[in-house]
């Protein structure tokens, strides 16, 4: 009578949009991305449509999002950060909406897949490396050799710095992916406790199921924090890598 606990089933990709989607392998992940982009565009377009001096709710949300990312770019990268603002804004809002959208019941969390987060992280690192090479030319490689270093230590430090640089996309992608996946697994585990208790213990089970339910409610609040925080961390790190590329050290 025990209900099997299938916590990973929620991350399985299925095709969306019926037979048309199935024929081109259009998954629910792709569909979610399209929806998220539409939501972001809708927020910006509809929010800014009134152009009120005293903003309404939507306009305030759109302006806050814009202002927050704009300040983050300038604080983290410097004046040059303005050039990267469109990129960071896209990145941040995409991840933020992806994380938050995953908290809506029955919706898929795109950032719980390593393929998505790794794609974003590699994009950030490759961009930062290109920006560094373009700004500084071959002088960019002095990034791996701190100045004032005794020459006999150079091979060791260069190896360490290169490994540290290469570890960036890994840590960037795994942090977001692991946080989002872990949160949703915990949701599912508590939820299946509820089902199992109600199924096996009858009336007492229904009473006891209040425990896991309360935990899931508390987890929802925590996951809202994690969703926003991880999007912020991802964007801040992207800014810091771009800062390093622009300024070297």
């Amino acid at each position: 009578m025990a209900t099997t606990i299938d916590v990973m089933g929620q991350f399985k990709l299925t095709t969306a949009l019926g037979p048309v989607g199935a024929s081109v392998n259009f998954t629910q992940s792709n569909l979610t991305m399209v929806v998220i982009c539409a939501l972001i565009l809708a927020l910006l377009h509809l929010g800014m449509a009134p152009r009120a001096v005293v903003p309404g709710r939507l306009q305030a949300a759109a302006e806050m999002l814009y202002g927050f990312v704009h300040r983050m770019c300038i604080d983290q990268i410097g004046e040059e950060g303005k050039a990267f603002f469109p990129f960071i804004f896209t990145l941040f809002s995409f991840i933020l909406f992806g994380n938050l959208f995953g908290l809506v019941p029955y919706q898929f969390t795109i950032t719980s897949h390593l393929a998505i987060t790794a794609g974003l992280a590699v994009f950030v690192i490759v961009l930062a490396t290109f920006v560094g090479l373009r700004t500084h030319g071959l002088h960019f490689f002095s990034y791996f050799l701190p100045e004032g270093l005794p020459i006999f230590l150079a091979p060791l430090i260069v190896a360490v710095e290169v490994i540290s640089y290469l570890s960036r996309p890994i840590s960037l992608s795994f942090r977001l992916f692991a946080n989002m996946m872990a949160g949703h697994v915990v949701f599912e585990v508590f939820a299946s406790f509820m089902v199992a208790m109600a199924a096996s213990l009858g009336a007492i089970g229904y009473v006891m199921a209040v425990g896991p339910f309360a935990l899931d409610v508390a987890m929802t609040g925590f996951e809202l924090l994690v969703a926003a925080l991880q999007a912020y961390v991802f964007a801040v790190l992207a800014c810091m890598y771009l800062h390093d590329a622009v300024h070297l050290h």
């Binding site: 490994i163 840590s171 942090r175």
Partner: protein
């Protein structure tokens, strides 16, 4: 004994000066930690360390296969990966070097 308070104040001043000279007083700029939220730091530290170790292990394994030096380079790069992990964390929480522009 009437000048005891002045002496005390003088001592405090000289102590502060001496500590400044020895670099014991932290400058007002506390590094990047204060700017980011502590929760964000906590989320980053563990993954930063582990990922560098993983990259070191992978590089060592790959170079061993290419250069047929098994298992020598893997040992070396595993250690270097650990060092790089600590370097990552130090970059996050350590003090900024003087003259460093943020």
């Amino acid at each position: 004994m009437t000048d005891a308070p002045e002496k005390g104040a003088d001592f405090d001043r000289r102590l502060a000066e001496a500590r400044q000279r020895q670099g014991l007083e932290k400058p007002a700029e506390p590094g990047p930690v204060a700017k980011t939220s502590l929760l964000g730091i906590g989320m980053r530290v563990g993954v930063d360390m582990a990922s560098a170790l993983a990259v070191g292990a992978f590089l060592g394994y790959w170079l061993d296969r290419v250069l047929h030096t098994k298992p020598f380079l893997m040992v070396v790069f595993l250690l270097l990966g650990g060092v790089a992990g600590v370097r990552n964390v130090w970059r996050l929480v350590g003090p900024k070097r003087p003259g460093h522009q943020e």
